[in-house]
């Protein structure tokens, strides 16, 4: 086994004035290099928190995250910033910078490292081509459709040639057709660039379509982990069975999911 991302006993509790919400209760997860690992769970199961702990947008309370040999959880801020460049991330709300054109959005991660202008330009053009929005380079994010915005988000996340891509509900705000094309792009990137993708979603269809392996997060722990086909044919956890049942119901009744039944 070539384990690339290792998450060990990860715990995270959100404290507000009155309530303590224990979101992650000791998550253990290993992901191989080049894998597309889908993580599914109900709302509030802690999926996003888990992804955000991998690049420490959330600081875990305890536990470890390793990427390759690097212990992400013990890095000082400066080293963390350098390591973060090798971890791309895309978001449900795209989070593009509205003050910048598409090109400058994609160039931003390179510009902050002081990469030479000519190289930035070359890289940006290549990325625009890769994600298939070559003609939109001079547009502002507000001029783009949801799918195009996410393509910019993906290009921006790839600018630094990362080893890992975190996708935090990246297709949840998109219609089924666009979801399909964005997932297609992610699969293509996975194959072409060999980067490891951690894909957070609440839709089993997304996992079925795009992932090689999957994990079910239930109540702050990994309830089930395995290959996609394996879990689809024989779910062992309660959450797994519920997801599968809803998924099968939807397939039988395509009108549920907007007709296409992706």
């Amino acid at each position: 086994m070539n384990e690339y991302i290792r998450i060990e006993k990860l715990r995270k509790t959100f404290k507000t004035d009155r309530v303590c919400l224990e979101v992650l209760k000791g998550v253990d997860l290993k992901i191989e290099k080049g894998d597309v690992c889908g993580i599914i769970g109900f709302s509030g199961a802690g999926k996003s928190t888990l992804a955000r702990c991998v690049n420490r947008l959330e600081e875990p309370d305890s536990g470890k995250v390793f990427i390759g040999d690097v212990d992400i959880t013990s890095l000082a801020k400066r080293d963390l910033n350098i390591e973060r460049r090798k971890i791309g991330m895309i978001f449900q709300t795209f989070n593009l910078f509205e003050s910048m054109t598409v090109k400058r959005n994609i160039a931003y991660p390179l510009e902050i490292q002081g990469v030479a202008k000519a190289r930035v330009k070359e890289r940006v053009d290549g990325l625009l081509e890769l994600v298939g929005i070559k003609e939109k380079g001079k547009a502002y994010p507000a001029q783009l459709s949801g799918g195009q915005k996410q393509r910019v988000g993906i290009a921006r996340a790839l600018a630094n040639d990362p080893n890992v891509l975190l996708s935090d509900e990246a297709t949840s705000a998109l219609d089924p057709q666009t979801t399909l094309s964005v997932l297609e792009l992610l699969k293509e990137i996975n194959q072409k660039l060999g980067l490891t993708i951690l894909l957070i979603t609440h839709e089993l269809e997304v996992i079925k379509y795009a992932c090689k392996s999957m994990a079910i997060l239930e109540d702050g722990v990994i309830a089930e982990r395995g290959g996609v086909d394996e879990i689809f044919s024989n779910p062992n956890s309660a959450a797994g069975r519920i997801f599968l049942k809803v998924y099968q119901d939807m397939r039988r009744n395509p009108s549920y999911s907007g007709g296409e039944g992706i």
Partner: protein
């Protein structure tokens, strides 16, 4: 010419007479000088103070709670003083710094002390408007806090910052007119001395025209600048 013994219409006409403007015109330059300098000081001071207030708060980029609380308390104290009291309060300060407590430069100290905290709060509220996701995205790409502030937070909220600054300039103009009463010179001084103490109401009218025109101009410029930016970004 006073409204007490002259019909309104005649005073109104007289307010366009060059005689009414003779003492006013130099005062306009004084006012513009005061407003100009104060705005620059307010802009720099307000942006710095507003940035510190934003990034040091509990959910900010660099949470330093004690600094945030104490600065916030200072800002609130300064803001709770009515502008007139601030002007009086700053008289000894101006004497200490400049050696005299009257005149255009002395008044700038009081104006800045009153307007910086006000603008800082406007800057703070603009900066807090930014979607958290944009900051997350910038962080995820390995930006330093400095880069997040100057490459993301300020540019992203610039249209709103410009509108806030417009409000601040107008506050400076109105406070400048008030400061005229306390030996600062400028349009306010003329309006009080001629229009109030000498009953030359045509001069008062003329002063009002200038103030209205000035505020309109600033508001128009501010709106236009903010709108141009939003249009460029296709946000309107």
């Amino acid at each position: 010419m006073s409204l007490l013994n002259t019909p309104f219409w005649e005073v109104f006409l007289a307010s366009f007479d060059p005689a009414a403007w003779k003492s006013l015109v130099p005062a306009i330059w004084e006012t513009l000088y005061m407003v100009g300098i104060t705005c620059v000081i307010t802009l720099v001071g307000g942006v710095i103070l507003g940035l510190i207030l934003t990034v040091t708060n509990t959910f900010g980029l660099l949470p330093i709670v004690w600094l945030n609380r104490s600065l916030s308390a200072v800002v609130n104290c300064l803001r709770s003083l009515p502008q007139m009291i601030m002007i009086i309060l700053m008289i000894p300060v101006a004497r200490m710094i400049l050696g005299k407590a009257y005149g255009v430069n002395a008044c700038i100290i009081a104006l800045a002390a009153s307007c910086i905290p006000m603008f800082a709060r406007l800057v703070e509220s603009s900066l807090l408007e930014i979607e958290k996701g944009k900051v997350d995205a910038a962080k995820a790409m390995g930006s330093s806090s400095f880069q997040i502030i100057f490459r993301i937070m300020i540019p992203e909220t610039l249209p709103s910052l410009i509108r806030g600054f417009t409000v601040a300039i107008i506050a400076v103009i109105s406070m400048t007119a008030l400061a005229g009463n306390f030996g600062a010179g400028g349009i306010g001084d003329i309006a009080v001395r001629f229009g109030f103490q000498r009953f030359q109401h045509e001069v008062l009218f003329a002063a009002v025209y200038v103030l209205v025109a000035l505020v309109q101009l600033v508001q128009f410029a501010g709106d236009a600048a903010s709108k141009i930016l939003l249009k460029k970004r296709h946000l309107i």
